[in-house]
Amino acid sequence: MRTLLVLLALAGMAARLVAQKLRPAVGPLVIGVHVRNESPAGTDEFSGTTFGGEGGLSFGRLVLRLDYVQGSVSPVSGGPSARDLIEGRAEIGFRPLRWLTLGGGPHARAYVIDGRSVRWVLWNVRGRAEGNFIGSAVAGYMEGWRAVSADVNVPEPFDHAEGGEAGIVLRLSGAPLQARVAYRIDHSVLGGGSRQETVEGVVVAFSVVRR
């Protein structure tokens, strides 16, 4: 009897899941990056542009997001040599309210300097709030995250990392296209504050969305 009830409940859930519409989105992503590295040895600043893409999948209240960019950043005023920057994120989220998404996932960033790479792997928890503010054509959003664990191959022990993103999403009426312009910042603290790294940038993304 219990098995039968479980089977019936699973069948009901399956029916509801089938009724949900799968909404994929994919498109190019460009980030104008500014990196600031503060350590007892001094402060280094780099800037550059990274290119890549992002994709998402929405299924009822479930959300899956991926993005990947790579490029190179150059020192703003002489000093250290330019380096490649590769960054990727994955996130799985749940939307308890129409405007609120809670989730988390890994965030990896690597700098390649003269064949040697510095890797950052952070596991973040995230919260995102989004709402239309110019009809349904423009929505604003704010996002914040915090690392709950990290794996960084630098001498200083990891302390904490936080970040956020805020911007607007422009939707073309009647077309499956949308554009996004946002400001993003990541701030990591290592060695009890002896080393800090801030990565900020302007995010410009275009997506083809199935509505």
Binding site: H34, I134, G135, V138, G140, I168, T198
Partner: protein, 352 residues
């Protein structure tokens, strides 16, 4: 008790017997009078006929009354009493305006006098069916007017207070005229009253009012219920046709909120508080979008989509109203009117 019942029955029997005997006597006197006229005993004929007419008031046997009067008039004429004959013929014409003496029986002296009196006497009779039921607007109540001689008539329906209800005819009449009423009032609507007066005023050709006849008509309308008009779209159902200040304020506030978040993020996450180039670029983009949103959604701007949607809703309502109107008109057309005609009354101006 039993004897009382027997007495009652006896009284009824005697009453009925008396009426029958009087009718028999009147018929005998009329017959005697006509026979005396044919035997050229005009004095005897006049006596017998006057006796017969005195016993028969005319309602029970109108044909006998008219026959008695024409023979009496002829007898008086041949007795040399022309004035009396004229008065008798006038009485006959008032009693039956359409009456014509048989020209095979009466000589030209008699018919000539009768025609002269007829020309001088302006009166008419109204024949209305006692009970009529018509479809309002489609059927008709037929009123037949019989005139003694050429005159003009005004046939009018009046309210019981004397106010006009509807004019049916105004014009000349020769011998007879059929006037019809379709059951509608002057405005073309179903009568809202339950009684009207059919009034026929007759005038000489020179316009002098000579007689009025009135017949009360009791009206009863049988109609199907009409449908209520569908309610017009309420303000709450219609979309606003001009933008309010809300969307513009929302665009402005949204822009401020997102820009504020962009400016505050470095401080929140522990970075530098000084504004950076990426922040300035994004705040500029957000501010521009917000400004464009404010302009596009400025208060009072016509909302074309809403206007079209409202017009569609109003048009659908107008079509529903037109459909209900057509259905109600069909139901009104199917209304029936029962008309009961009362006793005709005669009014002679001046009371003569």
């Amino acid at each position: 008790m039993r004897s009382m019942a027997l007495l009652g029955l006896l009284a009824c029997g005697l009453g009925a017997g008396s009426r029958a005997a009087r009718a028999q006597s009147s018929a005998n006197l009329l017959g005697d009078g006509i026979r005396a006229y044919r035997n050229l005993e005009f004095d005897l004929a006049a006596r017998r006929l006057r006796g017969a007419l005195a016993q028969s008031p005319g309602k029970d046997a109108p044909a006998d009354q008219a026959t008695g009067l024409v023979y009496l008039g002829a007898a008086d004429l041949f007795r040399g009493r022309r004035d009396s004959a004229t008065a008798v013929f006038r009485r006959l014409i008032m009693f039956d305006p359409g009456y014509q003496p048989d020209r095979l029986i009466f000589p030209p002296e008699v018919t000539g006098l009768f025609d002269r009196v007829r020309q001088e006497t302006k009166t008419l009779a109204i024949a209305v069916p006692q009970e009529t039921e018509i479809a309002v607007g489609d059927g008709a109540l037929s009123v037949r007017l019989v005139a003694s001689s050429f005159q003009t008539v005004e046939v009018t329906l009046l309210n019981t207070d004397g106010g006009p209800f509807r004019q049916l005819y105004a014009g000349p009449i020769g011998d007879s005229l059929k006037v019809q009423w379709d059951g509608l009032d002057a405005a073309g609507g179903i009568p809202a009253v339950d009684r009207v007066l059919l009034r026929v005023a007759s005038r000489t050709p020179s316009g002098v009012l000579v007689a009025i006849r009135q017949v009360p008509l009791d009206l009863r309308v049988f109609r199907g219920d009409t449908l209520a008009w569908p309610p017009a779209p309420t303000q709450s159902q219609l979309l606003p046709e001009r933008s309010s200040g809300g969307p513009a304020a929302r665009a402005l506030l949204g822009g401020i909120l997102v820009s504020g978040a962009v400016i505050a993020l470095p401080t929140i996450v522990g970075g530098s508080g000084a504004p950076s180039e990426p922040q300035v670029a994004v705040v500029g983009a957000v501010g521009l979008a917000s400004l464009v949103g404010c302009i596009l959604h400025r208060p009072g701007r016509p909302l074309e989509a809403n206007i079209r949607s409202n017009e569609t809703m109003r048009e659908e309502w107008r079509q529903r109203v037109a459909s209900v109107k057509a259905e109600n008109a069909r139901r009104v057309r199917q209304a029936r009117l029962a008309i009961h005609a009362g006793e005709s009354t005669f009014i002679r101006p001046g009371g003569s």
